[in-house]
Symmetry: C2
Subunit: 258 residues, 2 copies
């Protein structure tokens, strides 16, 4: 039987104890059956263990998890107490525990660049939208919300496990690594409307968005092409995930017209 | 001094006691300075009273609230205890208490129709996006989330007070009232892509979206024109507020090209 601090054996060595998530952990969680299946399918090499609720032993989702764990040799166990500690929601029936991992960005593919994103819900929604429109490369300029926060993972509905992302200390750091990208900065005082952009199909693009409250610093007006999504004066600005969604849609729609 | 149940005098008559919000109340709240100013500016006739925190007597936001209350003859008072009871957030410095009100939809304007929306955050975000793109008429088909829930009000960032909305018991009820509208139903199995729609500029349109989890019932395929926002198979569907944002953007962008 386990106490509240569960000792985990990984490769025979006692590694960690699970606690409520904190940013400085080197592991994180998927909370729920759906997210755990996504994790197991996309990042099996990162999974430490799966915890299952004893209440749903007969559910098809749990059966699927157990099948994947068997096939990929991933440990799992029934552990109601640990689930109730790790999950703030009452109806959580599976938790995947995974080691955080690093990615790199593809120099030939289109990128989303989020400068100082502050909301894990927005971040997850943006990841999911981008993935749906074929953009699976994300740069985050620090300080930025933690992409491995279980709230980000949940908001992405598992799309996080299908994209590559890299954190950079500054936008210049990012830019110096991807000199071939056409950069578009989304700013409320830009003169060029998104409708009028004709992306150069021979170059990858980077769509750059600022923080939820403060947007992009005025210095970004001199970076690449500044673009506005025009709207009326009744609102100060669009929600970040909505603006990003519209921009991604508009920049990729040609690929979806065939 | 007040006890936890505050008796409110309105027109000299004792009307109500304030409690944590419930859907069946005939009043609701704006939580925070920004939302309360929006309420006072847009719906002053519905405001019962404003509660202010004693901690921010010198803030410009609170000064603005007091000015508006004086100008429009709206009662206000410092009441830290009541604020702490009504607001789940700690840093709430003003609460507007307002009577719920009815609206009607303009037969000549474009409409958004949400069938069984289930998330107050999505609802608020959709209201704000629609308002920004000149659509200020919203139909909600029951059952649907409560538009006056303080969470909806907050997510709309006050845009709620600038739109007209009506709840209908069924889509047929809605449709029978607005026979002149061109109806577009957003469905994952539709054949017509949103890029290819050329709205008839002589008729108002209705953009119809289903519930977050279940989408629109298949019967909607025979209502108006079914439209898809095409995306790849990596995701099951777009987030409702993202899909609605893209659709509103695409349907109204011509108005923003001048």
């Amino acid at each position: 039987m386990y106490s509240t601090n569960v000792v985990v054996k990984f490769g025979g060595i006692i590694l960690i104890k699970y606690k409520t998530y904190k940013k400085d952990f080197d592991y994180s969680y998927t909370l729920g059956i759906f997210l755990t299946i996504e994790l197991l399918n996309q990042k099996p090499e990162s999974v430490i263990e799966v915890l299952l609720s004893s209440q749903t032993q007969n559910s098809t989702g749990v059966a699927k998890i157990i099948d994947i764990c068997h096939a990929k040799n991933i440990p799992f166990e029934m552990n109601d107490k640990m689930i109730s500690i790790l999950s703030p929601k009452e109806n959580c029936y599976a938790i995947g525990i995974f080691k955080k991992y690093d990615c790199s960005l593809d120099k030939l593919k289109n990128h989303i660049v989020l400068v100082n994103p502050g909301d894990s819900g927005n971040l997850g929604t943006i990841i999911r939208t981008a993935l749906g429109f074929d953009i699976n490369q994300l740069a985050i300029i620090r300080p930025g919300v933690d992409i491995f926060d279980p709230k980000s993972v949940r908001a992405s509905m598992g799309a996080l496990f299908n994209i590559n992302f890299v954190y950079f200390d500054s936008f210049e750091d990012y830019q110096n690594n991807y000199l071939n990208h056409d950069i578009f900065t989304f700013m409320l005082n830009a003169k060029i409307k998104i409708h009028d952009i004709k992306p150069d199909l021979n170059k990858p693009f980077s769509l750059v968005f600022g923080n939820e409250s403060s947007g992009l610093d005025p210095k970004f007006a001199s970076v690449g092409t500044s673009v506005i999504i025009p709207h009326n004066q009744s609102i100060d600005s669009l929600n970040l995930s909505i603006a990003t969604g519209i921009a991604i849609y508009e920049f990729t729609k040609k690929s979806f017209t065939v």
